[in-house]
Symmetry: C2
Subunit: 540 residues, 2 copies
C-alpha cells in the first residue's frame, strides 16, 4: 500500500476530513471524498478508527466504491464490502418494503447507515420517496435529501407538499437547484416557482433560457388554481385534413410521446381547437382515412380561466384522461392531464378536512414549533371570542345558578347535543355544496327535512335526558326545562347548520373553514340561554 | 278530423287516459300515449280542457309529436308546437346552462313542463344528470327519472350515490332495469348488483346470459373495496413475440377500443402478465419491431386482493392511467382504469368528512325523515354518554359551584379551548395517517412537537384568559386557577389528539369516525375536573 509516498497533501486532506467529521459536515465530507484520489481515500480510511471509517465510507459515491476498495487492505475491504453486499441483497429482496416504515429509515440513519438509506431512497418511486421524506423530522430529512442526485431530487420535489418543497429546494446549492429545475416539466416548474419565496423564485425564472422563460411567464400569469395554472404545453397538435397514415408516420419520427398522451389535439390553420383524435381511435383507423372523419368533436376544450375545482369536476364527470385548454379566441394553449387532476381532488379533500380544524393543508407536519404555534393560535383566538360569548350568556344567569346548582351541571349537555346535531346538518350541507347539489332551488325542501329530523330527534333525546335529569336531581321541573331547552337547541342547530354555510358562501368565506366555529358559537349561546332562561322564568 | 269513426275504442282509451290523469299516474299515461294511434291521440287531445291537454301532451314521446300534430286542429297544433319550439331554441342557446340550477328544474316541473325537463336531462351528460337528480326531492326525482329512456337511465345509474342508485333502480320495471343493466360495463354492473337488496340483485344476476353471469359471479366474489371489485375485464391482451405491425392490424379489426384504453396488456402463453404496451409507444414504433422490445416491464401488476385505497395510492404515486390486475399465479384477470380511481379518491375524502360528523357518505341527501332521524340519533346517543360523563364530573363539584358561581360561568371556556387545540392535533394525525406518514417510527418526534406547541399556546392563552377573568370577576385567584387549568387541558388535548387515532387504529376503528367524539369527551372531562378541582383545592 502507498501511504508513505503521498506526503503533505494527504495530511491536508486528512485534516480537512477529520475536521468535517468532527463538525458533522456531511456535505463537505462528500465533496472531499469525491475530489480525493481513490488511493488516497483508501489510505485515509485505513488511518481512521472503525467508527470514523464507517462515517466516511457512507459518503463515498457508489460508482467510486470499487476503485477505493481496490486500494484498501484486503481485510478492511472485505469488511466494508460485506456492508455493501448486505444492502444489495436487501434491495433484491424487495428493498422498498424493508424501508417503507419511517421507523426503519430513522433507525438506519441513527446507526449511521446513510449510504444504505440513500440507496433505498434512490430505488424508490419519487412519490413514495417524497412521502417518506415528509414523515422524517427536519434534520433527518435534510440529511437524506443531500444523498439524492440532482435529477432524482427534481422528481421528488414535484411530489412534496408546498411548504416542504420550498424548504428543501432552498437547501440545495443554487447550481443544483437550477440543474434540477431544468429537468422538470413546465407545469411542475411553475408549481416550484410558485412555492418558492419571491426572490429565489424570480432567480430561478431568470435562469431559464429565453423560450422556456417566456412560456413560464405566460403560465405564471394564470392563477395557480385555474386551468391555465394546471396546463402543460407538451401536447401534440395536428390538422384535420391530414390522413391517419401521415400522422402515424409523423408520430414515429417523435420516437416517444410525452407522458400521459392518450390523444392528439386537432387544430385549424390558426391553431384554433377543433377536436381531439384519441390514440385508441388512431390505431384502429385505416391509413388513408382523413382525421376529420375520426376525430371527436364532442370533447369541449376547457377555457384557460376555468377554476381547478371545475376542471376536476369536468374530468370526473366525463371520465377524461386529458383535455385541451383554449383562450377566449379558441386558440389551443396546452393540455391538462388526469394525473394533475387526481392531485387536485386529493388536495381539495385535504383542504376541507384541515380547514375544518383551522389548519393549513400545505403546511409541513414538522414545521418549527414556533411557526406552528403562531398558525394554530389564530384559530384558538377566534374560538376564545366565541367561548367568552357563551360565558357571557351564562354570566347573565349567575343568580339562578347560585340558587340551583344542578343547572350548572346540566348546561353543557344542552350545548353539546345542539353542537353535534348542528354539525351533522352543517357537514351534509357543506358536502352538498361541494357537489353543487345544495342551492336556493332546493333550500326549502332541505329545510323541511332537517327541521323534521330535529323535531323527531329533539323529542326522542329530550325525553331521555329529562328522565335522566329527573332521576339524578329528583326534580320534575328541571327535567321539563332541560327537555324544552334540548328541543329548542336542536331546532336552532338545524336552522344554523343549514343557513351558516349558505351565508358564509355568499360572503365568499369557505364554509369548511369557519362553519363549525360559527355553528358552535350559535349552539352554545342558544343552548345556554334557552336552558338557563327557561329555568329562571319557571323556577325563580 | 276523425273523432267520430273511432267509436268505442277511443272512449275506452279516453276513459283510461282521464282515469290516469285524475290519479296522476304519469307512467300509465305515457304507456297509453305510446300505444294509441296518432289520430286517436289527436282527437283525444282536442276533447280535453287546456290543462288536461297540456298534461297529456307532456307524455307524448318526442318522435311521435309530429305525427300527432298532423292530425290536430291547426290552431291547437300551432299552440302545442310553439311550446316544443321554445324548448328547441332553449336547447340551442346552451340548454344545459339554463337547467343546471336545481331551482329552474323544480320551477319547470311545478309548471308541468315535464317534457321540457326530460329533454334537458337527456341532453345532459349522465354524471351531471345524476348530480341534478340527487339534488331533487324524492317525488320530483321519480318524476324526472320516468322520462329518461332505458339506455340513458343505465348510464345515469352508474353515477349516483349508492342509496339513490338502489332506490331508482327498484323504481324501474323489471324489464326496463334488465335492459338497462345489459348496456352496462361489467364493473358498473357489479356496483349496481351490490347496491341492490339481495333479492332484486340476485334476480338481476340470474337474468344475465351464461358467460356474463359467470364473469359477474367471479367479480362479486371479491370485496367491493378491493382491486378485484374495481377491475373490468374489457382489456386487450397480446403476446410479446408478435410484431408491432401485426398488433396494429389486429386492433384495426376491432374498429374501436374499449373506453380508457391507453395500453394493451402483454401476456405469455399461459395468460400470465408480462408487461404493458402503451399505445403512445405503439404508434411511434416501426411495424417490424417485436413487442418484447418496446413493452414496459416496470409497471407491476396489482394483486387482485389489494385494497382500493392502496390501488388509489398506487395510481396517484405512479401517475398511471390503467393497470393490470393479476391473481396469485400472476394470471391476468382484468384492468383498473383511472376514472374508477378518481371516484375512489373522491369517495374516500367524502367518507372521512361525513364520518367525522357521524354521517353515512352513501346516504341520500333526501332520505325519508324517519330513516335519517334513526341514523343520526345513534351519533347523538353516543354523544349523550360523553356529555353525561362531563356533567357527572361537574356534579362532583356542586359544593364549590354553589359558593363561587364564577366557576360555572368560566368552565365552558376551559373545555372549549382544549377541544379546539385537541382537534387540531387530531386532524393533523388523521391526515398524516391517511398519507402513511404518521406511525410508531416518528411518534416521539411528533409528540415533542405537539407538546411544545401545546405549552407555548397554553402559556399564551392562559395569560389572556386569566387577564380577562381577573377583570371580569375581580379575583386574582380565579385568574390563576383558570390559567393553570387551560395549560393542563391544552397539554392533555395534544396528548389525546396524538394518541386517540393511533389507539383507535390499532383496534381497527376508523379514527375519522370516532376520533373527534372521544377527544371531546377527554378534553371536557379533563377541562372541567382541572378547573373545578383546582378551584376546590385552592379557594375552599
Amino acid at each position: 500500500m502507498s501511504s508513505k509516498d503521498s506526503g503533505n497533501n494527504v495530511h491536508t486532506a486528512q485534516n480537512a476530513v477529520l475536521d468535517a467529521l468532527a463538525k458533522g459536515k456531511r456535505k463537505k465530507l462528500r465533496k472531499l471524498a469525491r475530489s480525493m484520489h481513490p488511493g488516497k481515500l483508501a489510505s485515509l480510511l485505513e488511518a481512521l478508527d472503525s467508527q470514523q471509517r464507517q462515517a466516511v465510507w457512507q459518503e463515498v459515491a457508489d460508482e467510486r466504491e470499487q476503485a477505493v476498495l481496490r486500494h484498501l487492505d484486503p481485510q478492511l475491504a472485505a469488511l466494508l464490502q460485506r456492508d455493501a453486499e448486505a444492502v444489495g441483497s436487501e434491495l433484491d429482496a424487495g428493498g422498498e418494503q424493508v424501508f417503507t416504515h419511517t421507523g426503519n429509515v430513522r433507525e438506519a440513519l441513527a446507526a449511521g447507515k446513510l449510504k444504505r438509506v440513500g440507496k433505498v431512497f434512490r430505488s424508490m418511486h419519487p412519490a413514495k420517496a417524497a412521502g417518506l421524506l415528509e414523515a422524517l423530522p427536519p434534520d433527518e430529512r435534510s440529511t437524506v435529501w443531500q444523498t439524492l442526485d440532482t435529477e432524482r431530487a427534481a422528481r421528488v420535489l414535484v411530489h412534496l407538499h408546498e411548504e416542504v418543497r420550498a424548504k428543501l429546494a432552498l437547501e440545495m446549492d443554487e447550481d443544483r437547484l437550477l440543474t434540477a429545475a431544468r429537468t422538470l416539466a413546465l407545469d411542475d416548474l411553475v408549481d416550484l416557482i410558485q412555492a418558492l419565496p419571491t426572490g429565489p423564485g424570480r432567480q430561478l425564472l431568470l435562469s431559464m433560457d429565453e423560450i422556456k422563460r417566456q412560456q413560464l411567464v405566460a403560465m405564471l400569469a394564470y392563477p395557480e388554481d385555474s386551468a391555465g395554472g394546471l396546463m402543460n404545453t407538451d401536447h401534440i397538435s395536428v390538422r384535420a385534413d391530414i390522413k391517419a397514415g401521415s400522422i402515424l408516420r409523423y408520430l414515429r419520427l417523435l420516437e416517444d410521446l410525452p407522458d400521459q398522451t392518450d390523444k392528439v389535439m386537432v387544430v385549424d390553420r390558426k391553431n384554433r381547437y377543433q377536436g381531439v383524435l384519441r390514440l385508441s381511435r388512431l390505431v384502429t383507423t385505416a391509413a388513408d382515412t382523413k382525421i376529420s372523419e375520426v376525430m371527436d368533436t364532442d370533447f369541449a376544450a376547457l377555457p384557460v380561466t376555468m377554476t381547478s375545482l371545475e376542471v376536476a369536476r369536468q374530468f370526473e364527470d366525463l371520465d377524461m384522461l386529458s383535455a385541451a385548454v383554449v383562450n377566449d379566441e379558441g386558440e389551443l394553449l396546452g393540455r391538462i392531464t388526469v394525473d394533475d387532476v387526481v392531485d387536485i381532488i386529493r388536495e381539495d379533500s385535504e383542504r376541507t378536512l384541515m380547514n375544518m380544524a383551522g389548519l393549513d393543508d400545505e403546511a409541513d407536519m414538522f414545521a418549527p414549533i414556533l411557526t406552528s404555534t403562531r398558525r394554530r393560535s389564530v384559530w384558538l383566538g377566534v374560538n376564545l371570542i366565541t367561548a367568552f360569548l357563551a360565558a357571557s350568556v351564562i354570566g347573565q344567569f349567575q343568580a339562578s345558578l347560585e340558587q340551583i346548582v344542578a343547572l350548572a351541571v346540566l348546561m353543557p349537555i344542552v350545548a353539546s347535543m345542539g353542537g353535534i346535531a348542528g354539525s351533522q346538518t352543517l357537514t351534509l350541507v357543506i358536502r352538498g355544496m361541494a357537489l353543487g347539489q345544495v342551492e336556493t332551488g332546493n333550500f326549502r325542501v332541505l329545510l323541511v327535512k332537517e327541521v323534521g329530523i330535529a323535531v323527531l330527534n329533539g323529542m326522542l333525546w329530550a325525553t331521555v335526558i329529562a328522565a335522566l335529569a329527573i332521576v339524578w336531581f329528583g326534580s320534575w321541573a328541571i327535567g321539563g326545562i332541560i327537555a324544552m331547552a334540548i328541543c329548542i337547541n336542536l331546532l336552532c342547530a338545524a336552522l344554523a347548520g343549514l343557513s351558516i354555510p349558505m351565508i358564509l358562501k355568499r360572503f365568499g368565506i369557505d364554509p369548511a373553514l369557519a362553519g363549525s366555529m360559527v355553528l358552535m358559537a350559535v349552539t352554545d349561546v342558544i343552548g345556554f340561554s334557552a336552558f338557563l332562561g327557561l329555568a329562571t322564568l319557571i323556577l325563580l
